[in-house]
């Protein structure tokens, strides 16, 4: 810029001005994908969105004005949201789509609400803006420039029939649409069922903080997509794309998928971020990450959070599913579990680890009860019986209770034991057994309290 390179210069011209210029190929497909991402996100402001490639997005906001408290707050919200996504935009508001686009290009920031102000606002815009329209040929523009028309107002003053005769009819049609004389219907954008958004990082990184920063942008987009559908997610997938060079040389995967389970239907981005942070902090990255991708499907309709008019405290912060998901994200699924009795007479087999269900916390949830033995059972069971010396007879308080058989589990399952309640020196009660098999050893198997 400082050396005089400007938009519209040819490649050779630009290189002549600044020989060390780094040229980047324009990726139209990527631009369109980005525009689609932004359109998905913008669903949180209005359901009526129209893509205007390559670089424009049209939102019909008339109906949303009241919800957001007026034009200025809505524009601020859009600007702040885009900032969070990592984009800057030129906003303009006008009663017709074309006028809005031209104003955004030529006079960004104009907020025009009534059609009455349209002629005045459009009049000073330069004719160069028309060059971006597909329907207008370069020859039409040359012709108009030759006549001496510089701005929109100049063209409006020219006789329409004369322009039409000189192959500039397309210009008249465009101007009529912009001024609201002709209707200008647009196809509405339909947000995709399956959300997928990719964010290339500015530089490959293996720092969790940087990944999380990138993730915030992706999540902001996801949030808009969910808002537009008034839906929530139960899980989503974060894909880490590793540096390509590294993955070929060092032989690890080119990408890694992290499935993030939210524990409940949610559209709360703070929760999304919290759980992703836990997953990321646990993950060892084999190589620097080049790009992040967020994938989500199966959004389920979700009622907005219920708020109690009288009791604000009770309705917030009590989310058993979140605790479960957080703990499992950091410690692993196996480390967080529930217990359940299992119908088996052998002590080691009489319980199971079960998957905790947040839904089971509700009062209506039925409790499965297995048949429980009537004889006393200890509160703690040792994972392996521990050999002990033969206890003194006066320390044996209750028993024996014979527990035997289990041939169906092979040799390991086959037991034959006489269980006793015994007292230790410090008066605590323990569960011991005497093996009825060959060496007749005594074993400690549990504590009673």
């Amino acid at each position: 810029m400082a050396r005089g390179v400007a938009a519209g210069h040819s490649r050779a011209g630009a290189l002549a001005l600044a020989p060390d210029l780094c040229l980047i190929e324009r990726d139209l497909r990527q631009e369109l994908a980005t525009l689609t991402d932004i359109a998905s996100w913008a669903g949180c402001f209005t359901p009526s969105i129209s893509l205007d490639p390559p670089d424009t997005l049209l939102l019909e906001i008339e109906a949303s004005l009241r919800l957001f408290g007026g034009l200025a707050p809505l524009c601020d919200a859009i600007r702040a949201g885009l900032d969070e996504l990592g984009f800057t935009a030129q906003l303009a508001v006008a009663p017709t789509p074309l006028a809005a686009r031209w104003l955004a290009r030529g006079a960004a920031g104009s907020l025009l609400q009534t059609p009455a102000g349209l002629p005045d606002a459009l009049a000073p815009l330069p004719l160069g803006l028309l060059a971006h329209e597909n329907t207008v040929g370069a020859d039409s523009l040359e012709l108009l420039a030759g006549i001496g028309a510089r701005c929109m107002a100049d063209v409006r003053r020219l006789p329409r029939s004369g322009l039409a005769r000189r192959q500039a009819g397309a210009v008249i049609t465009l101007l009529d649409r912009a001024y609201g004389v002709l209707p200008d219907p647009r196809p509405w954008f339909v947000p995709p069922e399956h959300y997928s958004s990719r964010l290339p990082l500015p530089a490959p990184s293996d720092q969790t903080d940087i990944l999380l920063f990138g993730l915030r942008r992706l999540l902001a987009g996801l949030s808009g997509w969910l808002d537009a559908r008034q839906a929530g997610l139960e899980r989503f997938t974060l894909v880490l794309e590793f540096e390509r060079l590294g993955s070929i040389h060092r032989g690890h995967e080119a990408e890694s998928r992290i499935e993030i389970v939210l524990g409940a239907l949610s559209q709360d981005m703070a929760r999304f971020q919290l759980l992703t942070r836990e997953h990321l902090s646990r993950k060892a990255l084999p190589a620097p990450v080049e790009a992040l991708r967020l994938e989500a499907d199966a959004p389920r309709p979700m009622a907005p959070p219920r708020t109690d008019f009288f009791d604000v405290q009770a309705s917030e912060d009590n989310d058993p599913g979140l605790l479960l998901a957080t703990l499992r994200a950091r410690l692993g699924n196996a480390a967080v579990h529930c217990l359940a009795p299992h119908p088996d007479h052998r002590p080691e087999h009489a319980w199971r680890q079960t998957d905790p269900q947040a839904s089971a916390l509700q009062p209506g949830a039925a409790l499965r009860t297995a048949a429980l033995p009537s004889a006393p059972r200890p509160l703690w069971l040792l994972p392996e019986p521990r050999p002990i010396a033969c206890p003194a007879p006066q320390n044996i308080l209750a028993g024996p209770e014979r527990i035997e058989s289990g041939w169906w589990d092979g040799n390991d399952g086959e037991i034959c034991r006489d269980y006793f309640v015994a007292r230790r020196q410090d008066h605590s009660l323990v569960w011991v057994f005497r093996d009825s098999k060959a060496p007749h050893g005594w074993f400690l198997h549990g504590y009673f309290s």
Binding site: P320, C338, A350, W351, A360, L367, W380, R424, H427, L429
Partner: protein, 256 residues
Amino acid sequence: MAALATLASHAPSSLDHLIWRGDRLATATAPGLPTGHALLDAALPGGGWPVGALTELLVPHAGVGELGLLLPVLARTPAGRWAVCIAPPGQPYAPALAAAGVPLERLLMVQAESPAHARWAARQALNSHSCGVILLWLADADMGALRRLQLAAEESATTLILIRPASAASQPSPAVLRVALASCSGGLELRILKRRGPQLAGPLGIDLPWPGGAPRPGRATHPPRPTAASPQSSIHALVRPLPARPGPASLHAGAQ
């Protein structure tokens, strides 16, 4: 000074919890979580395990009776809330817990690789506001870690019970209640090392429930009278008489 004393004695009951006189139990702002043992409830400010504060149980070894003591609290976990056991040293036995009436589907077992993980899990459980009671087994912890747990407990209004080895009794702790456990014939002997109130004269004898409601085997017909006041409590002028111990039947009824 005299005027101040008069003011204190005539203070309306709404200010009671702000003024704590050393010879009385502090009036807790929030009622405690009933322990299920009448004798223990009577000795604790608030009438139960403190809510929104750290409690320490000091045990000489695992299985001395800590789980038996806490069974009534676990059994009374309200619907919609978890009871969380973090880093238990052994395997709590599901059939016995179920027989004691503990709602197993609300009892969350969390295994932690390290004490740091265990403390992290406890803080998450506190912050989630979705737990009735949190049991945390912690072998060693420095003052800073305990203080952070105490602060987290204060903010969340949840009962956090820390189970630590008896050797930790000599270390300072920010816990508002510290109880040393020892087993005795018939149940547990509790020494309250620290509470918001005067020192207790002697240990409390607690009968632990026995499955089936039968008397606990090995229970002496005449329980030994509580020993004379322990040395550290003798410095206190005011010694509360130990309430008479109720019979085992009534305690069992209360615990079920």
